[in-house]
């Protein structure tokens, strides 16, 4: 088990390393030097030189990259050149908003999607099954920011059921939850269908397996057979998808955060992109990709915990 985690972790780190280095390299391949882009056309050469020196942009690429990783090892991502605040602090401030949004969205999507997929598999070709099939495809396809805009338009602006902006008053949990509803729906709606489809497909597969026939041959109540004997196994592939879903949602959250003017990593990155604030761009991309990689890893581990066969195969390092 440990060996498996370590191996997966190392592979993830390699991908992260490649991605970050690639981005770093690209900043320097862009025509025009970053200082000019960041400070705008009115900056004097002295200002640019001072700015470049402060960000270390006058050093060769390899040195900068080395410094970046050295800083990273110390948990230091550099400074925001505009406010002089530490990038790590800024990122840590925004991260919880995004994480809560993503967790609520994926949690809600699972709570809806798993039973829907399960019922669809059991009552195959029923009205509910066909409806779920069509709706899942539809919700997966429609871009989430369009869903967000329509929700904003109707439920927040027109009917005023939910607030349109922000994350709610700090310390006021009910208010924060109220602010969370629409962004979470916008983010999670497509996943309801996705999860339902996954669960349905694997339930249909598991229900054909021999041990389900055994359980039925012992007259176990159908509920027990479905929930404890079948769904438990059918969930395994879904958990993997959920893990990746958290990663994908971290970037999907960007649209929800912008449409609902909600603080978070996505909004931070977006604003940093608009102002060419490279340290913040690097920091938020690093954190998002890091979480993406981490959530994939976590889903593998949870999967192993649910499936004793996998747990031990990996434990013995085969």
């Amino acid at each position: 088990m440990l060996r498996f985690i370590v191996r997966r972790g190392l592979l993830s780190l390699l991908i992260l390393f490649l991605a970050v280095s690639l981005m770093f390299g690209m900043i320097h391949m862009v025509p025009g030097d970053p200082a000019t882009v960041m400070l705008g056309p009115k900056a004097t050469p002295e200002m640019k030189a001072e700015f470049s020196r402060r960000l270390g942009l006058d050093q060769p690429l390899a040195v900068q990259l080395g410094r970046f990783y050295a800083g990273l090892a110390r948990g230091d991502l550099g400074e925001d050149p505009f406010t002089n605040r530490e990038v790590t602090v800024i990122v840590w401030e925004q991260l919880p908003y995004t994480l809560v949004l993503v967790l609520v969205a994926i949690g809600g999507a699972s709570l809806l999607g798993i039973p829907l997929g399960c019922f669809s598999a059991i009552r195959r070709n029923s009205l509910l099954d066909r409806l779920t099939a069509v709706m899942s495809v539809a919700f997966i396809a429609i871009p989430s920011f369009v869903v967000a805009l329509y929700l904003l338009l109707w439920l927040a602006v027109k009917w005023r059921w939910f607030p349109a902006m922000g994350a709610g008053e700090s310390g006021n949990l009910a208010d924060q939850a109220h602010h969370l509803v629409l962004p979470a729906i916008a983010l999670g709606l497509g996943w309801v269908g996705y999860i339902a489809r996954m669960v349905r497909a694997s339930m249909l597969e598991v229900m054909e397996e021999n041990h389900i026939r055994t359980a039925r041959a012992f007259g176990l109540p159908e509920r027990t057979v479905i929930v404890h004997y079948a769904l438990r196994i059918a969930m395994l592939p879904t958990v993997t998808i959920l893990g990746m879903g958290i990663g994908t949602m971290l970037s999907g959250a960007l649209f929800a955060e912008i449409v609902f003017s909600r603080p978070g990593i996505g909004k931070l990155l977006y604003e940093a992109v608009l102002t060419r604030n490279y340290p913040i761009v690097m920091g938020s991309v690093l954190v998002t990709t890091g979480f993406f990689v981490l959530s994939t890893l976590a889903s593998d581990i949870i999967n192993a915990m649910l499936d004793p066969r996998l747990r031990e195969r990996q434990g013995s390092g085969e």
């Binding site: 991908i15 805009l149 761009v281 990709t289």
Partner: protein, 286 residues
């Protein structure tokens, strides 16, 4: 499936049995027609500003109302389709061509090359797409070409993986081995056997990729990172509408509908195509 006429007849008879797929096909054809005929159908110039008639609701003169500069939204939506069409055509065909090439290289080439390419595909796929797009835009500045470039880079692995799998499977088949033994060149084998066999899965993939590509373009344009301001795109119409949301809901309603229609139409059509040609692909969501 060798004769094109047989292929079309096969598709058509399959579609007739699938009402949802047929609906998707009709929707897609309808939108495509409107988009191509936009210059003739649009009642106004999409860039014509009229400050005396800003943010008005639907009327006989402006069926979908006007935006914050008094431009006719219907005309902008029709022309916006052309941006989506251009982006999807260019991005998907280039991504497919490169994916085809890399996938065949991985499938037929030496083992080390296959390994390197697969790790490359995985790295690109493991990067959250929107983050990638934003990062690139941050570096190169907003433009439609950047959007197309980002979509191409992120789509290549999708096509390349399918081509690689199919090529590898075919390579082991007897008739290919026999042709090789008889001295057929790799190029000939690719042209005569591999290409016809992967054409169907590739086109199904492409039709299912359209919603993602259109959504990506609209998303980036919505963020102001795609088309430059006066040009209408469904995303930029939504962006304008978002800024004036409390004054008029019409730009958002009008900009969202074609997006929903296109994504739904292509998805249902694509699913239907997949069921007709390759039932084995069913359930394998990427």
């Amino acid at each position: 499936m060798s004769k094109p006429r047989g292929l079309i007849a096969h598709t058509w008879s399959g579609l007739k049995k699938d009402p949802l797929g047929m609906a998707g096909f009709v929707l897609v054809s309808f939108i495509l027609l409107l988009t191509i005929l936009a210059p003739w159908l649009a009642p106004y110039d999409p860039l014509d500003v009229n400050v005396h008639n800003r943010l008005s609701g639907p009327s006989a003169a402006h069926w979908l109302g006007t935006d914050q500069l008094g431009r006719d939204i219907l005309s902008r939506v029709l022309y916006g389709g052309q941006v989506a069409l251009k982006v999807s055509l260019v991005a998907i065909s280039v991504a497919m061509a490169i994916g085809l090439l890399l996938g065949m290289l991985a499938g037929l080439g030496p083992r080390w090359l296959d390994r390197v390419l697969v790790i490359g595909f995985d790295t690109v796929r493991s990067f959250p797409t929107i983050m990638f797009a934003l990062a690139i835009v941050a570096l190169t500045g907003p433009s439609l070409n950047t959007v197309i470039g980002v979509i191409i880079i992120t789509s290549i692995p999708v096509y390349a993986r399918v081509v690689r799998t199919q090529t590898r499977a075919l390579r082991q088949r007897d008739f290919i081995l026999a042709e090789r033994a008889m001295g057929a060149s790799t190029g000939r084998i690719l042209r005569d056997h591999v290409l016809p066999n992967i054409a169907a899965p590739l086109f199904i993939l492409a039709s299912m990729d359209v919603p993602a590509v259109v959504g990506m373009e609209a998303g980036l344009s919505f963020l102001g990172l795609g088309v430059s301001p006066p040009t209408p795109s469904w995303g930029s119409i939504l962006n304008d509408g978002y800024s004036y949301l409390r004054n008029s809901p019409w730009p958002i309603i009008a900009g969202g509908i074609p997006l929903i229609a296109v994504t739904l139409g292509f998805t249902f059509f694509g699913e239907s195509l997949r069921d007709i040609f390759d039932p084995k692909l069913r359930g394998k969501d990427r």
